[in-house]
Symmetry: D2
Subunit: 291 residues, 4 copies
Amino acid sequence: MTEKLKIAVIGGDERQSGLCKLLADDGHKVFAFALERAHLSENIIQETDITRLNQKFDCAVLPIPVYADPTHLNAPLSLHEYNPDDLFAYFPSGQMIIAGKVNNSLFEKAGRNGLRLYDYLEREDFNVLNSVATAEGAIHTAMCELNYTLNGKRCLVIGYGHIGKLLCRYLYGLGVDVTASARKSGDLAWINAYGYNAVETSKIFSDLSSYDIIFNTVPKLILDEKALLSVKQDAFICDLASKPGGVDFNFAKQLGIKTIHALSLPGKYSPSSAADAMRKTIYNILDEWRN
Amino acid sequence: MTEKLKIAVIGGDERQSGLCKLLADDGHKVFAFALERAHLSENIIQETDITRLNQKFDCAVLPIPVYADPTHLNAPLSLHEYNPDDLFAYFPSGQMIIAGKVNNSLFEKAGRNGLRLYDYLEREDFNVLNSVATAEGAIHTAMCELNYTLNGKRCLVIGYGHIGKLLCRYLYGLGVDVTASARKSGDLAWINAYGYNAVETSKIFSDLSSYDIIFNTVPKLILDEKALLSVKQDAFICDLASKPGGVDFNFAKQLGIKTIHALSLPGKYSPSSAADAMRKTIYNILDEWRN
Amino acid sequence: MTEKLKIAVIGGDERQSGLCKLLADDGHKVFAFALERAHLSENIIQETDITRLNQKFDCAVLPIPVYADPTHLNAPLSLHEYNPDDLFAYFPSGQMIIAGKVNNSLFEKAGRNGLRLYDYLEREDFNVLNSVATAEGAIHTAMCELNYTLNGKRCLVIGYGHIGKLLCRYLYGLGVDVTASARKSGDLAWINAYGYNAVETSKIFSDLSSYDIIFNTVPKLILDEKALLSVKQDAFICDLASKPGGVDFNFAKQLGIKTIHALSLPGKYSPSSAADAMRKTIYNILDEWRN
Amino acid sequence: MTEKLKIAVIGGDERQSGLCKLLADDGHKVFAFALERAHLSENIIQETDITRLNQKFDCAVLPIPVYADPTHLNAPLSLHEYNPDDLFAYFPSGQMIIAGKVNNSLFEKAGRNGLRLYDYLEREDFNVLNSVATAEGAIHTAMCELNYTLNGKRCLVIGYGHIGKLLCRYLYGLGVDVTASARKSGDLAWINAYGYNAVETSKIFSDLSSYDIIFNTVPKLILDEKALLSVKQDAFICDLASKPGGVDFNFAKQLGIKTIHALSLPGKYSPSSAADAMRKTIYNILDEWRN
């Protein structure tokens, strides 16, 4: 991205203000809206008048998620409250907009107003970058919780989606004995091809007692009461699946098994990389649109 | 696959006769059709009467590809010639059949006769197993052609599909300096996440002279005259893309650049694994169908 | 170690009391001396009379380091104070003893009394296990300090001894771009053979500005004022070398470069593995002595 | 090595003539002695008068091994025969000389004449470069002999010296299930730290039947009759140990177990890297001597 652009960054938390800095460091002209309480460097233009969104920007960047609740923009660093739907009325026709967790109604509004709206979460590049941060964050979480080294331990990763793939890769790289589970025969073939042990998810239960560490990435109750009874008492379970997760946490507690439900790791573990993932995705979208 | 099955293996080359052995070793009752000239062990039943396909088998296994030409079964080890369409007339209704490179007309025939027909090539598990063999075979090919070690060399893998992914993984594992190219931003993010260097395919040309070894996996003319002029004269190019491949072989020859168009590696490099890939895929299909 | 032994564990901190538990879990008969304030399980015999060391044990285990100061046993969990030299008077002739950081005078005493005394720190097995914990602990330290992912970052490891070797291996496994420095041409060859970038330690200075993260393992002032002036201001330096370390910490602070002097990582990062390393080394010594 | 040097290359086979080319390509002035039948490019000076060795060269390079037999220089590409001892009479005092497999008498001669003589084989850098080529060559050998992929196979590497270390590393990188054996507890700790399975060499026999591929690197009869009886009949054994090797080849043949005694792999598998290893070692020696 050598060309210098004019970019509006609107609302969001520290990641979004970090994004302002990254974009400005790359030489772009950055206008910050609904970020009045963020500490921004001088080369970033703090906009106080929201109607100024009616200028044509090369890109307008809304937060992830764009909504704090059904009617409000996610803008914890702002002094004001906005409804994303209202903001869309200011954008000039053809404006390119990026946001996270866009709902149907907002896409509809964009369509009606002739705006080009993209959702980060529908982008493979963004999802991969996020998964890198989640996988590393999961390893960091385990390192913090455990009083022994990961090297040489037996570890099960349940689910071989984006996060599962990278978690296996990085654990293997630390000299961990990695087993990954998946339901599909194609995923099991990939697991073996990469050199890990493979087990069908429906068959993990017969061997659960052999693992020192279990990471779950599947948003479905996998480690239920029956399964937990097979887990070693001094094992550690790290659940990465979105709420309610895949572990019966109460029963695990009764059994004295240490568990953690680690959510939103990218923002917590590596906020700077999270901002960088937004930056890269914005550039990729702009590149693709031009070619 | 602990249950003992009754399986018909029909036509094909050494891989298919190897499959007979693997299935029989697993304890299944194997009937070989159109394999009269294959050397089969005694526990495999050589069938000479093709109409005996009218029995109900747990699975009927046709070769990859099923057709040798538009009207003939691929059956180089048979004493007779068959048309796959005709064979389908013998199968009882509901027969499960597996074959490779099935065309529309054969699928239609299967549909009309109430047969359950699967194509290996539409199966992710089979494709991954095949890609493992192709990636390893590509490394073997390079090792045979080159008079230096791969370790420490700079290597470009063009295309990050199944084969590209595994080739990168294995080269990296040999201590090669791996760069992978892809067109999509999502693939580029994956490449980085796995620790390789990433470059957009359209931008490989500026840096082509830095590679000692180039593997192409994209079935499109990528290394054309202009590109080849940037390649080091003592570089080695291994094209894995199906015919006509992605390299201007004539021009490369004129320039004195060593090239190889390595096709059908799984069958050539590791016929035993190729037979095993068929076996595993058959079991997976049977398993999925039962569950 | 299937045979059941009689082992005395004498003094030391939580690692030593952890060792008592591990040994008892393996079925050995464990006698704890100078560990009165440790919380030990019931199957461990708390000895209050130090003269009871005059029994013949299969092994007597002293702490690492054995001395708290020139005249006192390292025994923070004891109610009493002892001089290691005095303890040696109780041991019967031929007693096998293991301790850490044994000085010449203690070795001399052992020799004179006919005791077989081993120092953990002179054992390759113990040093490797310790280095695993140090390398993982160093990665954990970086993960805690940094607000971005390690994956994809450029990292320099100064020194290719035990810790350097494993740190490179694990960073590489996380998809980090790893450069290792060493002085000897043989080490540089090893570094390349394992797939990392190699640079002679005396030549790191020309390229210091390209690293995001620098780990030092060499106990010599390497990153002095001049060198630090080439380091990126937002780089992170993690010094693993024993005091005074290899970094001019004050000058780094003036430059605003984030540094950490991470010492005694095994005990802090993974005390349970530290106890396990002691256990494994004891078994190895006993095994070797019998064969 | 930016400085341009004057180098004499004396005797040897294709590797030594390859070395002439590499040195000349680097810009050095190369004089070839006892290489009359080698096809050398024009920028290399073919010397026919051996007494011209009396000039002062920056380095005089003799072959590996230096002796063809107890009285003759290893010089298959020469038209004449020489005794290395005689050659030493020509060198001026202080001449730096590099050769392979130097015996005591030659070292003595060098000492008496004031020559600085180095043996490649006593250099760690050269040994590592050689081991890279041996380890890759061993994998190449297995790939050539086997009709299945290495990925996913169970493999035992006997001995964890230079070659064992790199063979484990590269096999692991190909997704092989790697077990390494060693005698010393320190090596076993290293094996685990790198993520491979470890087994004491004296205990490999109980589990030999579980391996698909066995590489031996220990120059001692390990796989004797008794051991071979435990090896799978369709396993492959690749012996890398110098003659007579570590396998009872006759008995293996009787059992129908496929074996290969793969010797001198660097020269056979990657002659160009073998020449490059000589070049790098020469530069390293020159560098060290100046500093």
